[in-house]
């Protein structure tokens, strides 16, 4: 698989690009990396307020109010990583267009870097969540599945973003559409609720949403102490690899013409 070879070959460069991206993003900012946590915490707070305290959503049997908070966090983290990656990635090539004009640079790494930067917030949040769980003695063996899940998510996002970032150059409205799509995705993904709560007529919408597998998987492994559903996991993993492959080929096919289009 060429794209894996490419990613492994450039791993150091990708890492340095991520560092650079953060340096640029927070140059001159006081709180720096802390800003990565402020947004998610705010969303988490409003979710808890609206759904937990005002609407009194019935969470899973056997979970108390605090556990509902954990439940929402488990949904929020992958959504956050995914949507940041997709939004940042879609714009990334256009934002770095001068790199294409002036010099020789492997442009395919730019969307990859954007996705990784999106993941940083998610990983940061996940580690805090794990610390909280550790303090309460809720670590389970199923946590070992977590890296696999995140990896699949990353590969899927990178593949999707390779295609989206190209299309965005031609069709600049795409980034706006993607932004709205991510807001929509936030509500149709099982973040504040669980898949079990969805009424039977609507479960197709859940089944078609790749994020629902991911969120379910996150909850299963982190909170409920069971391995992810095999079918869902296999489908998700397969979709991720396929998406990565497709995206890479699409991007590489357009690479030579991209500089003429930006």
């Amino acid at each position: 698989m060429k794209c894996f070879q490419m990613l492994i070959h450039h791993r150091r460069l990708i890492w340095n690009l991520i560092l650079l991206d953060f340096k640029v993003r927070y140059a001159g900012s006081r709180l720096g990396l802390l800003w990565m946590l402020v947004g998610p915490l705010m969303i988490l707070g409003s979710y808890l307020l609206v759904f937990g305290s005002i609407l009194h959503i019935q969470s899973l049997p056997g979970l108390n109010a605090f556990d509902y908070g954990l439940l929402v966090t488990c949904g929020l983290l992958p959504w956050m990583g995914f949507s940041e990656g997709v939004m940042g990635g879609t714009n990334s090539v256009l934002a770095h267009r001068n790199l294409m004009r002036g010099q020789l640079f492997p442009m395919e790494l730019i969307p990859v870097t954007a996705v990784c930067c999106g993941l940083v917030g998610q990983l940061l949040g996940t580690s805090i969540l794990l610390v909280v769980l550790g303090i309460r003695g809720m670590w389970q063996i199923s946590l070992l599945w977590l890296p696999g899940l995140v990896l699949c998510q990353a590969l899927f996002t990178v593949g999707a973003v390779w295609i989206l970032s190209c299309l965005n150059i031609l069709f600049r409205d795409l980034s706006q559409i993607v932004r709205l799509g991510m807001v929509l995705l936030m509500f149709i993904s099982p973040i504040a609720y669980t898949t079990q709560m969805v009424p039977p007529g609507l479960d197709l919408a859940i089944a078609l949403n790749p994020l629902s597998f991911l969120i379910d998987g996150y909850r299963d492994t982190v909170l409920l102490g069971r391995s992810p559903r095999f079918v869902g996991m296999a489908l998700f993993g397969g979709a991720a690899v396929m998406m990565l492959h497709m995206g890479y080929h699409y991007f590489m096919r357009l690479r030579t013409v991209l500089p003429d289009l930006v």
Binding site: L13, N16, V24, A27, M100, G102, Q103, L104, P259, D260
Partner: protein
């Protein structure tokens, strides 16, 4: 093929100019080749170019705006792909097509050096080897720790140029970026290019500054409308190129200048009917033997053979001498010396004597012009008023027996030597 750095074979580049954005999207998705409703026009930026660039050579590319120079450079560097044909590169290419493209305004110069290194494929550790070189060359001093957004344009460009040229590459492709600093920095840049030449690096550069190209290049290529119009020694190519530009300007000048008082129209009419032609310019040494290599301090005569089809009473003749880097060394105008050239119909010769020749060693170009009349106060129109002009080269070498650099001019001087005591004596007496 070991001595070829870049081989270009039958290279073409077509840009598609889309009429609407939707036809652009359709074409991009592979649905634009419908034949009937082709939503774009084709612009052939380059058409069937073939040439080789030898290793270690410095090749200049000249041409009008929009002739395809930058497109060619992009294809040579590989930042854009050809429509047909191929470019084969033997060696690592560094492209300097736009300066400072990878700079982030909020990062300091120091951080930006590492960032651009990253974009050019050098990680932090590798960049540490070049870091001091870059900082030193840019001469930014303490400003290197300030955010780049606080830099002046000159500082910004200096840093960008330093980053781009301090990194190792066997082939360098450079687009019109030499005029980035003041005269001092420009000189430094030229020195750097000389050093590259010594190291055997191959350089391809585009510039509108003919003097720079003459100084640096071993070969020039003139691109016109996407094709090679001329290819050869810098002086020949640049002269051919500037003459075409000149001719075009003359054509424009004719339509733009309607002032009847101007001599342009007369000159143009005379030129058009070939009223006068300079057929040959000869350089004669002291023994009146034609030569093109002279020693400094020799007496030379520039003999101009012209053929006139109309009689002229008070024509003005100019002889300009340019050094190979484009500097006008002197401009001799007959009317200043109160000499007017009277030409009868038929052939005649005019001699201009330089005795002795004061020019220092080097290559020179002589441009001879004949004007029906010349207004000494007008710095613009002379080039349009000329009936005929002619260029030829000669070189001046060191006088026999002197190896020291004598400078660019051997100025006539008078020496007066006076011992101090003697002077006092003289005052006393």
């Amino acid at each position: 093929m070991n001595d070829v750095a870049i081989a270009v074979k039958d290279l073409s580049k077509v840009y598609r100019l889309y009429r609407t954005n939707s036809s652009r999207v359709l074409d991009f998705l592979g649905m634009g080749e419908g034949g009937l409703a082709r939503g774009y026009d084709e612009h052939w930026a380059l058409k069937n170019l073939s040439f080789d660039i030898a290793k270690g050579s410095t090749v200049g590319i000249v041409g009008r705006n929009g002739a395809g120079k930058s497109t060619l450079l992009r294809l040579l560097a590989g930042t854009s792909g050809p429509t047909s044909g191929e470019v084969v590169r033997h060696g690592q290419v560094a492209a300097l097509l736009e300066l400072g493209t990878g700079f982030h305004p909020d990062l300091t110069g120091h951080e930006n050096i590492y960032a651009s290194g990253l974009y050019l494929g050098f990680d932090r550790r590798a960049m540490q080897n070049f870091y001091n070189d870059i900082v030193e060359f840019s001469e930014l001093g303490p400003f290197i720790r300030q955010p780049v957004r606080t830099y002046s344009t000159g500082m910004y460009m200096r840093l960008a140029f330093s980053v781009a040229t301090c990194l190792p590459a066997s082939i360098q492709v450079i687009d019109e970026v030499l005029g980035v600093g003041d005269a001092y920095f420009f000189g430094k840049c030229l020195q750097r290019f000389r050093q590259f030449q010594k190291e055997g690096r191959t350089t391809v550069l585009v510039s509108h500054d003919n003097a720079t190209l003459l100084r640096l290049c071993s070969r020039c290529v003139w691109i016109d409308h996407g094709r090679i119009a001329a290819d050869g020694s810098p002086l020949e190519v640049i002269m051919a190129y500037t003459e075409t530009v000149q001719a075009e300007q003359d054509r424009k000048a004719r339509t733009e200048w309607s002032d009847p008082g101007m001599t342009t129209d007369t000159a143009f009419a005379l030129r058009k009917q070939k009223a006068l032609e300079i057929e040959q310019v000869q350089f004669l040494d002291a023994r009146h033997i034609p030569t093109s290599a002279l020693a400094m301090g020799d007496a030379i005569t520039i003999r101009i053979h012209c053929h006139s089809r109309v009689a002229m009473e008070r024509a003005v003749m100019t002889v300009s001498i340019f050094r190979s880097d484009g500097i006008t060394v002197c401009n001799v105008i007959s009317s200043i010396d109160d000499v007017y050239v009277r030409l009868s119909e038929g052939r005649s010769t005019i001699d201009v004597q330089f005795a002795p020749l004061l020019l220092g060693p080097g290559e020179y170009t002589v441009a001879v012009g004949i004007y029906p009349s010349l207004d000494l106060n007008d710095s613009v129109s002379p080039q349009h008023a000329v009936i005929w002009h002619y260029r030829q080269m000669f070189s001046v070498h060191q006088p026999v027996g002197i190896a020291l650099d004598l400078g660019i001019v051997r100025h006539p001087v008078t020496w007066a030597i006076c011992a101090h005591a003697e002077a006092e004596e003289r005052i006393a007496s």
